[in-house]
């Protein structure tokens, strides 16, 4: 993975100090995740040039900021787009004028996205002729995202774009974001404190706390971490990527392929056959047996190997399992008693049993 976006930035405020030295992937969605007040929005604003931070920032071969060389590219000269929490549509302009505000200010040979493409991706055609004053929250945010994309950014910065929306609007927008993520080459830095958005969208995660990055890594690994969880006290579990292979309409089940030769039955998922999905498998839904059990209601029984275990909570053991092929890792929480009785140990081959009904998108 190329690390095209590199920065070493610091910003002092009376009650707060940001100090980060980082490089992030030049494609895909990087989530800045952490509790409110951890500095994730401030970091995003520094990347945009909206804050006068000190340090270095380069994107690809271009230097946007360098205190040592006295370089500071102002916001309007950085090839970025920024989606704010509030849509921020200009009230004196029509929907179309809002959408084209950045496009008009992008040199013709820099335009890589056309209005027609954006209107189609974001389903904006029915909104074009409407007044900005009559749009719903979700519609406004879609226009704001379209407006940002039409400035053909080389880096898209999103600051909790869903947080100001009600849950119905969130559900309306999330699929658009997922689609953009798949179809666009533009790297995205996405600030959020909602773990569900991270689980759905992120490819890479920077976990922040008190103005610093405290952990980072590929999204699936970070979301399935077994030693330290992203949210303290959160129910442990693993997030895995799978492909939808079949829907059984009669039994109302969906067939998923985790990796070659490893498949999983889940409750009916709202996704087309062939499309990639992410599902979360809570550790409490995964149990362990030594042999393939018979006469069980559990649908998913997969051969696995114990890689690690921890005995955090009294009476319980959290076990990290690796499925056949080594590409997928699961977490299983069993009782201390079972661990001892089965004589489990790291490196043992076991059968992981996953309750289908415990799976969700």
């Amino acid at each position: 993975m190329s690390r095209d976006i590199q920065f070493r930035l610091s910003l002092k405020r009376s009650m707060f100090e940001l100090n980060v030295e980082q490089s992030i992937p030049g494609r895909g969605v990087t989530a800045l995740f952490g509790p409110s007040g951890c500095g994730k929005t401030t970091l995003l604003r520094c990347l945009a040039g909206l804050e006068q931070s000190r340090g270095e920032l380069s994107v690809g071969s271009e230097k946007w900021q360098s205190s040592s060389e006295g370089i500071f590219l102002p916001v309007d000269r950085r090839p970025i787009a920024y989606v704010f929490q509030e849509a921020g549509l200009f009230p004196h302009l029509s929907v179309k004028e809002n959408l084209l505000y950045g496009w008009k200010r992008t040199a013709e040979d820099e335009r890589r996205i056309t209005p027609d493409q954006v209107y189609q991706w974001l389903g904006l055609l029915p909104l074009i002729s409407r007044s900005v004053h009559g749009l719903s929250g979700g519609e406004k945010q879609r226009v704001a995202i379209g407006r940002a994309l039409l400035s053909s950014p080389r880096l898209l910065l999103m600051d909790e774009p869903l947080s100001a929306l009600d849950s119905a609007s969130k559900v309306e927008i999330l699929p658009f974001l997922e689609r953009l993520h798949r179809e666009l080459e533009i790297p995205v830095v996405y600030v959020t404190h909602a773990i569900e958005e991270v689980a759905q969208l992120a490819d890479y995660i920077l976990q922040m706390e008190e103005g610093r990055v405290i952990a980072e890594g590929p999204a699936l690994a970070m979301l399935s971490r077994f030693d330290r969880r992203l949210i303290p006290g959160e129910e442990p579990g693993a997030v895995v990527e799978a492909t939808v292979t079949n829907h059984d309409e009669i039994q109302y089940l969906t067939d998923l392929m985790l990796s070659k030769g490893v498949s999983l039955l889940a409750p009916h998922l709202d996704a087309t056959v062939g499309s990639p999905v992410r599902i979360r498998i809570p550790a409490r839904e995964v149990s362990i047996s030594l042999t393939v059990p018979e006469g069980t209601s559990i649908l998913n029984i997969l051969p696995a190997r114990i890689i690690d275990h921890s005995e955090g909570d009294p009476g319980r053991v959290l076990v990290q399992l690796e499925l056949k092929g080594g590409e997928t890792r699961l977490l299983s929480r069993i009782s201390r008693y079972s661990w001892d009785r089965l004589g489990l140990a790291n490196g043992m081959q076991v059968q992981a049993q996953i309750k289908s009904m415990g799976l969700a998108l």
């Binding site: 909206l50 787009a81 921020g88 549509l89 505000y101």
Partner: protein, 229 residues
């Protein structure tokens, strides 16, 4: 009404128009700076701009007379570089009126700029608009009600000024004798009929202008309930 009576009316309208145009040119950058600055000297400038609101116009007129007169520090400087004489001339009236009506234009503009806030400007900047571009494409249209209020107050206030005008301009018919001074003259010589005509005209004109502005502003407020959506 005799022909002579109309001269102060035209002179007053001309003075108010020229003053308002100059005021908008001067007050816009000043109000923008006041709305944006985090400088510690901001209150000093705000207080200076507001001074004409509280000072008796004669005080302002007196100092202007002293400063702008041919012997005064500013007046002599202006005349040395070939500038116009500023006391007892129309140019002087304009200069004094700009100063005197400054707060009536700066304050509505500053309020309008401040209520736009930083957010729309940040959005525009991230979309590639330069500072100049942001001012013309975002600030000016969003501050339009403020501009209408500022222009009207500046115009109306200049229409009615008396003390400053008398001190710096004197009472030269056709040159510096404006409406308010003409009314005063009529009252002095007990010509109440003439004074009535001019006074009522000024009263009705001022009320009409203000009424129009408040109606316009009400319409545009109803149209945009907020600076960002």
């Amino acid at each position: 009404m005799s022909g002579i009576e109309m001269v102060p009316v035209w002179l007053t309208l001309k003075l108010a128009t020229v003053t308002t145009i100059l005021l908008l040119l001067v007050a816009t950058p000043l109000a923008w700076w006041l709305a944006q600055t985090k400088s510690r000297s901001k209150p000093i400038f705000e207080a200076m701009v507001a001074l004409p609101l509280v000072l008796p116009p004669t005080v302002l007129g007196f100092y202007l007379l002293v400063l702008l007169g041919p012997e005064g520090p500013i007046g002599s400087l202006i005349e040395a570089v070939g500038g116009p004489r500023l006391v007892f001339t129309f140019a002087g009236l304009v200069f004094a009126s700009v100063l005197y009506s400054l707060p009536f234009v700066v304050q509505p503009l500053q309020n309008a700029f401040e209520s736009i806030g930083r957010a729309p400007l940040e959005v525009a900047a991230t979309l590639g608009a330069s500072a100049r571009d942001r001012f013309f494409s975002i600030v000016l249209p969003l501050a339009r009600p403020g501009f209408i209020t500022a222009a009207t107050l500046g115009f109306a206030h200049t229409l009615g000024e008396f003390g400053v005008v008398l001190m710096i301009g004197g009472n030269i018919p056709g040159k510096t004798q404006v409406l308010s001074v003409a009314i005063y003259d009529h009252v002095e010589v007990m010509e109440y009929g003439q004074a009535h005509i001019l006074s009522a005209g000024l009263l009705i004109a001022s009320f009409t202008v203000l009424l129009l502005v408040y109606m316009l502003n009400r319409r545009s407020r109803a149209k945009r309930h907020g600076y960002l959506l």
